[in-house]
Symmetry: C2
Subunit: 669 residues, 2 copies
């Protein structure tokens, strides 16, 4: 049973959060304490009285989501997780920012029970929260029946000044307002201070007017006013058709001598300030990491109450399951990722020998995948037709009578928000989301792609127009360094398939095997079907590389290529053979997967004692690990140019004649 929350007890708990924060930062010798101290009251109130969760089951599907976009305030989150009886001990908190601890400097998804998302890079949590809210609305419309069933939870995010200054927050807020995501509630920590000084140094927006202009429901409260916050949050939840932001005035470093100052952003305080602050707040100096018994008692009661509320929700969910067995089954299938075993075969069916742009192959594979895996949700940043990302059997999200019944998301010309939103959908765990744009614009999305890789979540990025063969749009639209730069992101798997079957195998990997994000690199231009030495097998693609052409005798050279350069390599191989040079051609649909193979697999396909050439209509330097210093990377040396792609192919040397000549010259033959 919960004790009554007297004003004294409330203050004691808030100060416990402040004390834990101060001590953790003091022990670590570095960390952010101003925001947790300033937010202790409103965010404790949110967790205590509003947030629906079950500390014993952090993954409970119907829970409200809490996104600490201001990830530097991690000690606020860790304190709350500890106090509300998540699996996080005082010892964990004492190990704040230490190697291998559950309490890293910024919250990290997968490291700590109850941490929904990795945050820290500013603006990201905001954008991801929009995706989580969208996933909730999609799930509600697709599976729930009236007020019963999944998707009725709320997504609460805490955002700082920094979050609101980042472009991604405007982009994602714009789409959230446009779509009317009433299940998203942002608490803006309006503390009027950033690291360099008062917020007024750089930021003089009318935040209320800004969010109203983007279609949001805006309220303001004083962070000390818990009743006001309760009313604002109730009103926010009652507002079904607009996302809400609650501008919450707080004082950074509240309770300390640094209160309201820029320097309160980060600590440690040092012994004197710790003592003064603790005395001011009535926290005993000894022991450190002090939690009063009455706080423990109260919070144990509240944790129990949360568990009980969850049990009641489970009972309602069971009733819904019984009443709606088909919907329940579909929901379970979505979250359980139930997929046919022979997916790769199904997807590849009919594609062997077919010449087309790989973006078009991807589009047709997507249709088949959507049939067997109705969990696909995706779209493009205003290039749906070019990216071939539209699901033909699905309607547009945001349009019509049932705006969240669709599967096609129009993200608008907001690549960065798109990437974060896709990640947020992936984090929700119900859908398999994807995002499309031109590959050169992957640059706009990197901060979010990186987070997906760090979290190991299943976001998919469909990048078309993957080389200088974009053609006439010129160097601003022609990726040259992007393939290398994407391959450099740890944990991201890049596929650059050469034809229909390779594309199908890559999509099968996305749906059934991927343990982290996947990026596609797909051609704008038409590409001949690959002539393969042996029948196609999806496993070849999943291994990352396979031999498509082998000479009768020992190879004089191994030529590596991916995507649209595979047919070029094959033609060049034939030409070389006619000229007496034996070339093995290896298709490398995923350099990432290939370089993760055991040495014997790699050396068997690309022997160390045979000269190796990589050809890529981009820089291609990521092949160096196979080609070596003495091998030849036959790629671009700089930016492309505006011209029809066949002219570029000739100009930059991507023809069998020129490639064969370069290889012969390289071999000295």
């Amino acid at each position: 049973m919960a004790t009554e929350l007297s004003p004294e007890l409330r203050r004691s708990i808030e100060n416990t959060i402040r004390g834990l924060t101060i001590d953790a930062v003091e022990r670590a010798g570095i960390g952010h304490l101003g925001a947790p101290m300033g937010l202790a009251r409103p965010v404790f109130q949110l967790w205590d009285r509003h947030l629906r969760f079950d500390p014993s089951d952090p993954d409970w599907a119907l829970r409200d989501r809490f996104v600490l976009s201001a990830g530097h305030a991690s000690m606020l989150l860790y304190s709350l997780l500890h106090l509300f009886e998540y699996e996080l001990s005082l010892d964990d908190i004492k190990a704040f920012r230490q190697l291998g601890s559950r309490t890293p400097g910024h919250p990290e998804f997968g490291e700590t029970a109850g941490v929904e998302i990795t945050t820290g890079p500013l603006g990201q949590g905001f954008g991801h929260a929009v995706g989580m809210a969208l996933a909730g609305r999609l799930a509600r419309e697709r599976f729930a029946t009236g007020s019963e069933g999944p998707g009725h939870h709320f997504v609460y995010a805490v955002a700082s000044d920094g979050d609101l200054m980042e472009g991604i927050s405007y982009e994602s807020a714009s789409l959230a307002g446009h779509l009317g995501l009433g299940n998203l509630i942002v608490l803006y920590d309006d503390n009027q201070v950033t690291i360099d000084g008062p917020t007024s140094l750089t930021f003089s927006e009318d935040v209320r007017a800004r969010f109203e202009a983007q279609g949001w429901h805006v309220q303001g409260v004083d962070g000390d006013d818990t009743a006001g916050l309760d009313a604002a949050l109730e009103s926010a939840r009652a507002e079904g058709g607009r996302p809400s932001i609650v501008i919450t005035r707080t004082t950074i470093g509240e309770g300390s001598g640094w209160a309201g100052l820029s320097k309160a952003h980060g600590g440690p305080f040092g012994a004197d300030e710790v003592r003064a602050t603790k005395e001011n707040l009535g926290i005993p100096l000894d022991p450190e990491f002090f939690v009063p018994d009455e706080a423990r008692t109260y919070l144990a009661g509240r944790a129990a109450a949360k568990r009980e509320a969850r049990a009641a929700d489970d009972t309602r969910l069971s009733a819904w399951r019984e009443a709606e067995p088909e919907r329940a089954k579909a929901w379970d299938a979505a979250r359980g990722r139930t997929l046919p075993a022979d997916l790769a075969v199904t997807l590849a069916d009919g594609l062997e020998g077919k010449a087309d742009a790989t973006r078009k192959h991807s589009g047709s594979v997507l249709q088949k995948l959507a049939e067997v895996a109705p969990i696909l949700v995706g779209g493009s940043a205003d290039l749906a037709g070019s990216n071939n990302t539209t699901l033909k059997g699905a309607s547009d999200v945001g349009q019509g009578e049932t705006p969240f019944a669709g599967g096609n998301v129009h993200y608008g010309i907001r690549e960065h928000a798109m990437a974060a939103i896709v990640n947020g959908i992936a984090l929700d765990g119900t859908f398999l989301p994807y995002a499309g744009t031109f590959m050169v614009f992957s640059d706009y999305m990197r901060p979010s792609i990186r987070l997906a890789a760090l979290m190991g979540i299943r976001s998919t990025y469909v990048f078309t127009h993957d080389s200088i063969f974009v053609g006439e749009d010129g160097p601003t639209h022609q990726p040259v360094e992007q393939l290398d730069a994407l391959r450099a992101i740890p944990g991201l798997t890049v596929f650059r398939p050469a034809d229909g079957p390779e594309t199908a195998a890559a999509w099968a990997y996305v749906a059934s095997q991927a343990e982290g994000p996947v990026a596609f690199a797909l051609s704008r231009q038409g590409v001949p079907a690959v002539e393969r030495a042996k029948p196609f097998a999806a496993e070849d693609v999943w291994r990352g590389a396979y031999v498509v052409r082998d000479p009768a005798s020992t190879p004089d050279v191994v030529v590596l290529a991916s995507g649209s350069e595979v047919p070029l390599a094959v033609d060049t191989g034939k030409k070389l053979e006619a000229e007496g040079v034996q070339a093995r051609v290896v298709s490398v649909p995923s350099l990432d997967l290939f370089t993760r193979q055991p040495d014997d697999v790699i050396d068997g396909m690309v022997p160390r004692d045979v000269p190796t050439v990589a050809v890529e209509a981009g820089l291609g330097e990521s092949y160096r690990r196979l080609v070596g210093r003495d091998g030849l990377v036959y790629g671009m040396k700089g930016f492309g140019a505006s011209a029809p792609w066949k002219h570029l192919a000739d100009h930059f040397g991507f023809t069998p004649d020129k490639l064969a000549a370069a290889i012969r010259s390289h071999l000295g033959r």
Copy 2:
């Protein structure tokens, strides 16, 4: 003498722009025609009646700047350049989107006289325009006297829906509003259509309210209403303290059968639609690329008038020069980049043998550089203290009585806008701008960094916290792939100096030699001074690499390192020598510069027949081109972790003991 611009002649000129656009796109077989057709009237009016330029001298310092942020509307710009007698012939226009032409698919800085900036990636032009406007205000405050002297020009930008949906436009608009850049005037092409459909599919912001919330002066006009546009532009120019946006309602593809439709975004029309449109607009079908004589006459007159106006401005400028010889001299020195010959020596003075974090070395070098080169203008995205980017002798831009007299820019937590603004300042040509943040956040800036590299402009990015040795902030704040990803951008020179003298030489390179953008990678943590085999020479840094330690006998191994890993490599080399392994240690302050050296320089320092090891507290794969397939890249294999940096060094093996053991194992000794 200019003919009178009758309504008929005006329409004829507008339709000439439309006709040139249609024909150019038709001949190229691909291109964007909707925007140029829709914008023909308002933008012709802007050029004809408002924009100050001299077609014979596109680089005239006092000209107004025209930024076509909607770069896909390139045929609008090319048509205007041709009609106003810039060096762009009808033959150039006929070669639209062809290899080597002056009329690439998107406008490219340096390829076409009169093109101020490369645009195409949406939002970039908007952000760069803010930088150009800021440079103008800084120049006015620093050099002008009242209404006389430089910096009184305006920056006009044309932005599309797509520009306004990109996060960078909100970020940069926020700062422009905050700083009150009254010399910035944006014409928003409100055509209510994007590629995927009506703008309402994804965008329902109240654009007026949005910009008002950001402190802008907002007006709206009908694109057909030239008098209304005149009045709006006059009012915008009269508004000295706020940037202006003129929401201009246009019809995409105006005059064609595709008018108002999404498909009008791109063409070609095809013969039938070309014929119908030309008939509708009264353009003769033959010849193509038709320019009526009366249009030629009028525009010749207008070009002459622009030249005359420029001459008058020159007269006023000469008077100012005479009245203010000191200011004129300072302005000329800034634009002429007058710098002492021995800059590197001056900057490096006193730094040899000094242990410190390289970010701190950079901060102290910056102070010296600012003394001899008062053209430095820069700052940080709210991390000035950490990035050591503050010029101690300069005040803050935007603060105090003379808000534009300062040199320290507080960009706010807006990394992307910061990069674009720095580029805009560089394009203006008066100042040498820089931008600072943590290296991991370079990801937010890549689209703008790429444009700087493509344009070959002198932007400098000061990235501190350049490895996993960021420490406790954890993997979200620890770059691992960023160094490789930055080195992959063609034309960007990355410096990762190891100590004070190397840092000084790199800044000297920035100020006096760079022909394109430069990125610094600087350590957070303290780093011992490099023990060098021979006296320091800046040329060693400018060559990209040099031997810091050579064994007495032939090396058994060459160890490559940069930045904070150089002292580690030196210590490891000593340890190996004690164990009978002769190691040469090469400091590589710029892998980019080193790999551009002739083969004999590279092979002399890093012989092909000696096993090579690269050590980097990041992925380090960009060293593969020197290390080869059989060499050892001793770097990170994935993301870092949250812990004190010395613990990370031990955990991830960056200690002399562990590195020496790995090298011995690699050598089989």
